[in-house]
C-alpha cells in the first residue's frame, strides 16, 4: 500500500516506531524465550502501556510462552469509592464547582443510582451533573485554578486523581499559591508500595516488571529496588513500540541469566534517581500516607496527602462534618464486577462474566471499563479479547 501514501505522516521512519527495529526485537524476544525454555509471565503497571500494546497489537509479536499482563496501572480504576462519593456529594452541594479529568466523570462510586433498571448501577459525577451538580471536565489543575479565580464567591474543588505525574502538577500549583476557595480531593496514588504487595498474593508467578515510563521519570528507578531484591526482573518501559519491545527483551535476558536487576532501556528520558527538583517540590507539599486501592486493600505509604502547611486546601478537611458520612462508604465494586482481579493481573478482562455484555465502553458497569487507562476498556476497544484477526482479502 506504500503507493497509497506520499502524504506527510504517511509512515515516517521514526526510530522508536521503526517496523524493522520492532521486527528485530521481536526476533530477539523469540530467541531469548527459547533459551529460557519455559513459559514466562511479565507485567506492566501502566494504563498507557496497555493502551499502546493494544493499539499496535504488540502481543501478536510475542512468542507463545511469553505473556505480558496488565497490572495496577490505571489511577481511575484504583481510585477508592470514598473519594468518588465525596466528589459526588460535594458536586451536589450548593455553591460548589467540582472539577476533574474527563475520564473520572463517568466512574461510578457506590451511591446507588435511583430509578436504574440495568442492575446494581451506581452514581457517577455525570449522573450528579444531570441532577444539577456543577461538574466540569478540565485538562489540568491550572485550568481549575483559573476557574477558582474567576469564581471567588464559589468553592472550587479539584478531584485530583492520578499517579506521580498528576501529583507533581498539583504540588507545583499549590506551591506557587492557590486561591483560598480552591481545595483538592487527595486521591493520589504512589505505585511502588503496591508492587510490593503483589508478590504476597497467592499464586503470584510474575517474573518481571516493566516499569511505567512516565512515573519513573519523576520517582526514578531506585524505588523499585525491593522487586529486584526479591529476584524479580525490572526494566523501564517507554511507550513507543520499540520501547515496549526493548523492555521485554531486557526482562527476558535478566530472567534467562537468573540475575534480577533494574535495567533502564528507556534511558533517553529516565534517570536512575528521577527528577530531583520535581521530587523535592512533591515532598514539600505532600507526604506519603496509607490509602485504599479500590477493591484491593489499604496499602501503607502509597497515597499522597497534603502536608499540614497546605491542609487548608484539603477538601476532606474543609467540608468535614457537612457531608453524609454513611454515603461516603459502601460496597467497593458493583455486584459481579471483577475489576480488582483484573487490576492485579489475576484474570483477563474477558473472564469477567459481564465483559462486553452488561459492561461496554458506552455503558460501563465497572471502573476498568470507563477510563482509557482501564484494562477492560483497552481490551474491548482494540478487540484484544477476540481471536487474532485473520483477513481474507478479495
Amino acid at each position: 500500500m506504500a503507493e497509497g501514501g506520499g502524504a506527510p505522516g504517511a509512515f515516517r521512519p521514526d526510530t522508536y516506531k521503526d517496523p524493522e527495529l520492532v521486527a528485530q526485537l521481536s526476533g530477539r524476544i523469540a530467541e531469548v524465550a527459547a533459551e529460557i525454555g519455559r513459559p514466562v509471565k511479565l507485567m506492566h503497571i501502566c494504563g498507557t502501556h496497555e493502551h499502546e500494546i493494544g493499539r499496535y497489537a504488540l502481543r501478536d509479536l510475542l512468542p507463545e510462552g511469553v505473556t505480558v499482563l496488565a497490572g495496577p496501572g490505571c489511577p481511575v480504576c484504583v481510585c477508592d469509592n470514598e473519594y468518588i462519593n465525596l466528589a459526588i456529594q460535594l458536586s451536589l452541594t450548593p455553591g460548589v464547582i467540582l472539577c476533574s479529568f474527563g475520564d473520572m466523570l463517568a466512574v461510578p462510586g457506590s451511591i446507588p443510582l435511583e430509578g436504574e433498571r440495568r442492575g446494581d448501577v451506581r452514581m457517577s459525577l455525570l449522573d450528579a451533573r444531570a441532577r444539577g451538580g456543577d461538574v466540569r471536565a478540565v485538562y489540568s489543575v491550572f485550568e481549575c485554578k483559573r476557574i477558582a479565580e474567576a469564581n471567588p464567591d464559589k468553592q472550587v474543588v479539584f478531584f485530583s486523581v492520578g499517579f506521580e505525574t498528576t501529583v507533581v502538577a498539583v504540588a507545583a500549583m499549590l506551591k506557587r499559591g492557590a486561591p483560598d476557595n480552591l481545595t483538592v480531593i487527595e486521591a493520589n496514588y504512589y505505585t511502588p508500595p503496591a508492587t510490593s504487595l503483589l508478590p504476597e498474593l497467592d499464586g503470584f508467578d510474575i517474573e518481571g516488571f516493566m516499569l511505567p515510563g512516565h512515573a519513573v521519570t519523576i520517582t526514578g528507578l531506585r524505588v523499585y529496588e525491593h522487586l529486584a531484591e526479591r529476584g524479580i526482573a525490572c526494566a523501564s518501559g517507554g511507550f513507543e513500540p520499540v520501547d515496549v519491545m526493548a523492555s521485554v527483551v531486557s526482562l527476558l535476558e535478566q530472567i534467562r541469566d537468573g540475575e534480577a536487576t533494574i535495567a533502564n532501556p528507556y534511558n533517553r528520558l529516565v534517570k536512575y534517581d528521577g527528577n530531583e527538583k520535581a521530587k523535592q517540590e512533591l515532598d514539600e507539599v505532600f507526604e506519603l500516607a496509607p490509602i485504599r486501592w479500590r477493591g484491593i486493600a489499604e496499602i501503607p505509604a502509597s497515597g499522597y496527602k497534603l502536608r499540614e502547611a497546605y491542609a487548608q486546601h484539603s477538601a476532606a478537611r474543609r467540608f468535614a462534618g457537612t457531608l453524609d458520612e454513611v454515603a461516603l462508604r459502601g460496597a467497593e465494586h458493583p455486584k459481579g464486577c471483577r475489576c480488582a482481579e483484573v487490576t492485579l493481573g489475576q484474570i483477563r478482562p474477558d473472564e469477567c462474566g459481564v465483559f462486553g455484555k452488561l459492561c461496554t465502553p458506552d455503558s460501563p458497569y465497572g471502573p476498568c471499563m470507563v477510563s482509557h487507562e482501564g484494562t477492560c476498556r483497552a481490551w474491548y476497544t482494540y478487540g484484544m479479547h477476540k481471536e487474532r484477526l485473520t483477513v481474507e482479502a478479495a
Binding site: M1, A2, E3, G4, G5, G6, A7, P8, G9, A10, F11, R12, P19, V22, A23, S26, T48, H51, G54, R55, Y56, A57, L58, D60, L61, P75, V76, F101, G102, D103, M104, A137, V138, Y139, S140, E143, R146, V161, G162, T165, T166, H214, P241, P361, D362, H372, E373, Y380, T381, Y382, G383, M384, K386, R388, L389, T390, V391, E392, A393, A394
Partner: protein, 367 residues
C-alpha cells in the same frame, strides 16, 4: 514534489483562502444601530426586519431572499432532489482555518454532495444569545456567504431567534439544503464489494486537533488549520473519472473510525485500513500523541471517505489530488471478505487491531 511540499502548498492555499475570506469580511462593515444582539432582534418586529435587511439580505444577496416573502421560491431543479439539514455549535466559534459560519454551510453541502447530489439552495436559521456581538455575527454571516459562493450555492431563506442571556452559547446555526440528484447516481453500502479500495481526500484529524488546541484550558500554540471546506467540487471531479464510485460519506465527528464502522455494520464484508497509508499531518500526529487522542477518531470537516472499484481507484485518486481540497489524498485501505462486519487496522508491524466505533468525544487522557 515531495510530500512536505505538497503539504506546504495546500496550507498556503488554505490560508490564502482564509485571508481572502477575512478580507471580504473587512471590506464593508455594515452599520447596524446596535453593537450587540437584543431580544427584540428576534421579536419579529422592527429590529428583526432591520437585522434581516441590513445584515442577512445585504450579505447573502440573492433574488429569492430579497423578496422577503414567507417562503423562498426557487427554480425547478428537475428530477430527484436530495434534502439535508444540520445544526451547528462549535467552541470556540472562530478557530484556526474557519469559523461556525463556514462550518454550517460546508456541513450541509457535504451531506448533499456525498449522496451524489449537486447542492443548489440553502436556508439558514440562527439562534442568537442576547448580547451577542453584532460585529462577530457579521463576520459569521460573511463567512457563510463566502463559503456558499465557493460551492455555488445560494442562501435563500432564513430565520432568527434570540435567546435570553445565559440560555444560549453565543450563536447556534441550523442550515438546510437541497440539491439536484442526477438519475444515474447509484451510491450506497449495498454496492460495496470485496476488493474495492478505500480513499480519503487528505490528512485526518486536522479539525479536531485545531479546535481542541484553542479550547479553554489547553491553549496550545498549534500551527494547524481546520480542514473545513465544501467538498461538492472535489466530489464532482472524482465522479467524472470514477463513475462507479460505490459509496461516499463525509468524515466528521467520530473520525474515520465512525464512518468505517457505519459501512461494515451488519455487512458480509470487512473494511481494512493500512495504518502506514493514512495521511496524518505531522502536527496532528505529535499533538494527538501528547494528548492521548487517536487521529483516526478525531473530527474532520472537509474530508470524504470514498469506496471505489479497484479499476477506478487510481483515476479517483488522481482527480482528488488535482483538487485543492485533495492534494494529500490517499488510498488507505480496502474491502475484505473476512472478518465480516469488522473495521480493522493493519499496523506497520503486520499486526491487526479492531478499529472500534467511537463512543464519545475524544478527551485528552490523564496520566
Amino acid at each position: 514534489m515531495t510530500s512536505e511540499n505538497a503539504s506546504d502548498v495546500q496550507n498556503a492555499e488554505r490560508s490564502a483562502g482564509a485571508e481572502a475570506r477575512a478580507a471580504s469580511a473587512e471590506r464593508t462593515r455594515l452599520v447596524t444601530r446596535y453593537d450587540s444582539v437584543r431580544l427584540s432582534h428576534g421579536s419579529g418586529g422592527k429590529l428583526t426586519l432591520e437585522l434581516i435587511e441590513e445584515l442577512f439580505v445585504s450579505v447573502f444577496a440573492n433574488e429569492p431572499l430579497r423578496e422577503l416573502t414567507d417562503a423562498a421560491i426557487v427554480a425547478n431543479l428537475g428530477g430527484r432532489i436530495a434534502f439535508a439539514t444540520d445544526s451547528h455549535t462549535v467552541k470556540p466559534a472562530f478557530f484556526p482555518g474557519g469559523d461556525i459560519g463556514r462550518l454550517a454551510v460546508a456541513g450541509t453541502i457535504n451531506d448533499l454532495a456525498v449522496m451524489g447530489a449537486k447542492p443548489a439552495y440553502m436556508t439558514a436559521a440562527f439562534l442568537l444569545e442576547e448580547g451577542y456581538d453584532m460585529a462577530e455575527l457579521e463576520r459569521v454571516v460573511r463567512s457563510m456567504k463566502a463559503t456558499a459562493d465557493e460551492a455555488g450555492v445560494a442562501i435563500v431563506a432564513g430565520d432568527t431567534k434570540v435567546l435570553e442571556r445565559g440560555h444560549g452559547d453565543g450563536v447556534f446555526i441550523n442550515t438546510t439544503g437541497i440539491g439536484f440528484l442526477p438519475d444515474d447516481v447509484r451510491l450506497g453500502v449495498g454496492y460495496v464489494r470485496p476488493g474495492d479500495k478505500v480513499l480519503v481526500n487528505g490528512t485526518l484529524g486536522d479539525h479536531g486537533i485545531a479546535v481542541m488546541s484553542r479550547r479553554e484550558g489547553l491553549d496550545l500554540a498549534v500551527e494547524l488549520e481546520s480542514d473545513v471546506a465544501p467538498l461538492n467540487g472535489l466530489i464532482e471531479q472524482v465522479m467524472q473519472v470514477a463513475p462507479n464510485v460505490r459509496f461516499m460519506r463525509d468524515v466528521t465527528r467520530g473520525g474515520l473510525a465512525a464512518v468505517a464502522n457505519e459501512v461494515v455494520l451488519r455487512q458480509a464484508f470487512g473494511l481494512r485500513v493500512f495504518d502506514v497509508a493514512v495521511p496524518i499531518h505531522d502536527v496532528v500526529e505529535q499533538y494527538s500523541e501528547m494528548l492521548g487522542i487517536d487521529p483516526l477518531l478525531a473530527a474532520n470537516e472537509g474530508k470524504v471517505m470514498m469506496i471505489v472499484p479497484p479499476d477506478e481507484a487510481e483515476a479517483a485518486l488522481g482527480a482528488m489530488k488535482a483538487h485543492p481540497f485533495g492534494r494529500e489524498a490517499a488510498i488507505i485501505g480496502d474491502i475484505v471478505r473476512k472478518p465480516e462486519g469488522v473495521a480493522l487496522v493493519e499496523t506497520a508491524y503486520g499486526t491487526r487491531r479492531v478499529l472500534e466505533m467511537p463512543i464519545e468525544e475524544q478527551l485528552p487522557r490523564i496520566c
